[in-house]
């Protein structure tokens, strides 16, 4: 079975770990969000790709869900001592190595997809990890700060401001000119199932879909497309998805996110059991819906979610 998964960071990575446990023999291709990539200290940092790579490769800091295990922060302390920031972005000493290797390879002319493959040679995540694009896309968030309307990098909004001010707009700068990375459209065309894990529908999955060609390829693939709600009981399971949903005019509910994707894209949708009441509304929108436990409390819970998603995909396929 060939499965394509559109993944953001922590939620996507944990779901993927469950998926690998559920169907170890499946060929899984992950299309990773690169809209939250950022240049820091002259280095190219790809938080979502790294979270997937570290999580599946066994190097993740399990507690926080991002960054490396057994991490130290001496380099960052020293940068701060030099007065060099930003201090709000937590790059650890071990993590820095990834960004140094990536930056050197990019500087030598390799595209991000080739760099990602080389990094994965070490981590062996058990999936094929592709950046959504080799072109630079950078998600900016329009906010009002100190009485002034300005656009800040997504990481600044998310990490520094902790999404504490309303997002007025979310713009994946560069997406319109970006091309899908080599292998992305092919993987979608050859997929048996396409899954949207419980990642952020705006700044993770939404950014991937904003790269011209990807949304169309998924809609035309002719295979079941099944998503899992990142919203449980009207609140995001992790992170602050509600903040960016408001910016695109979508209410923070499991049903509204399904409607946001729409039946043109999505065939099936899983909501949490606490949102059982939303099933009818989703199905009215033309999307087959089931209510199952959606809290990834451990690997087995994530694996069970993956099984439910694949079961729903089979239901859709035979329907």
């Amino acid at each position: 079975m060939r499965i394509v998964v559109l993944a953001g960071g922590i939620g996507g990575a944990r779901f993927l770990r469950g998926l690998r446990a559920a169907v170890p023999d499946a060929e899984v291709t992950v299309i990773g969000n690169t809209g939250d990539d950022i240049h820091l200290f002259g280095l190219k940092v790809c938080p979502d790709l790294d979270t997937v790579m570290y999580t599946l490769g066994g190097g993740i800091n399990e507690e926080q869900g991002w960054g490396r295990s057994e991490e130290t922060f001496h380099l960052k302390e020293e940068l701060a001592a030099y007065g060099v920031g930003p201090e709000w972005f937590g790059l650890g000493d071990r993590d820095f190595a990834t960004h140094i290797v990536r930056t050197q390879m990019l500087g030598a002319g390799y595209p991000l997809s080739a760099v990602t493959e080389a990094l994965c040679d070490r981590w062996r995540p058990g999936v094929r990890l592709l950046p959504m694009s080799d072109d630079r896309v950078e998600t900016h968030v329009a906010v009002e700060l100190d009485g002034e309307r300005k656009a800040v990098h997504f990481q600044e909004y998310w990490v520094r401001l902790r999404a504490s001010v309303p997002a007025e707009a979310v713009v994946p700068v560069g997406a319109e000119q970006a091309k899908p990375a080599p292998g992305v459209l092919e993987a979608i065309a050859e997929a048996d199932v396409i899954l949207f894990p419980p990642s952020n529908p705006v700044v993770s999955v939404g950014t991937i879909l904003a790269v011209p060609g990807i949304r169309e390829a998924i809609a035309e693939a002719g295979v079941p497309v099944v998503g899992l709600s990142p919203i449980v009981g009207d609140a995001p399971v992790r992170g602050m998805a509600d903040k960016v949903l408001a910016a695109v005019g979508v209410e923070s509910s499991a049903a509204a996110v399904a409607e946001h994707y729409g039946s043109g894209l999505l065939d099936g949708w899983l909501v949490d059991t606490v949102d059982e009441g939303a099933v009818g509304r989703v199905e009215e929108a033309g999307i087959r819906c089931r209510a199952v436990p959606l809290m990834m409390t451990d690997l087995e819970a994530a694996a069970q979610m993956a099984r439910e998603a694949l079961a729903l995909a089979e239901e859709v396929r035979v329907a």
Copy 2:
């Protein structure tokens, strides 16, 4: 009193710490060797400048004489896990910050002298630290390796090969086209005394003197120029100076190094008490010479050496 010191790494740095203790009110300008600079992992590393900066700024690893105190090596471990080398160069997590800041500033267009000044804003070494040149100079060593004659970077010769093969030639590549950094010639012209600490006469002081204009400025400054022998009892006090002295046809002795500099450059020379027998030979070469303890066992010993050097300079001045 204005003092100019031509410094390499460990020996120069420790002597400078003694000099500062001996004459805390003196204005000390250090002209630092940059011939051992190396690009590693896309970063510009300046080992000698950093050793001086860390030593005088209180951040040095006292035991090894280079690198940072309280250092960890997680980043380097990770680079090795990615298969990215060289592994033989010991960059620690804290040390990396210096190279990242330097590389970013150089990338932004600042010359090395401005970058060094910015880094010293943090370390406050109590001296004015100038690179010998803002232009790239890279000391290469000609060796026979595996039956083949080849040139290796000085750091590869020194750190990886531990000077275990004979150096057939030492070439400061780029020196002929290099210009002294801003302030270097002015500091020499305004100096009351010029000192050569017990640094390597070939790859440290020799490289600085290879930048066109510096040797001439020192010879024409009209002030006492006093050096301290890095060779004690026919062996280098630290490091492997004997290996590179052979490459320039100079025997490994306190007297031979003085003759190598020559009376056209050097007015006074300190040898260790064990080399008292060399005093006559050095004075025959037209260089005033004294035998005093030259082992920098602690700060006070280094301070006493500085006092002896300044005393010899006064002797030369009134002579």
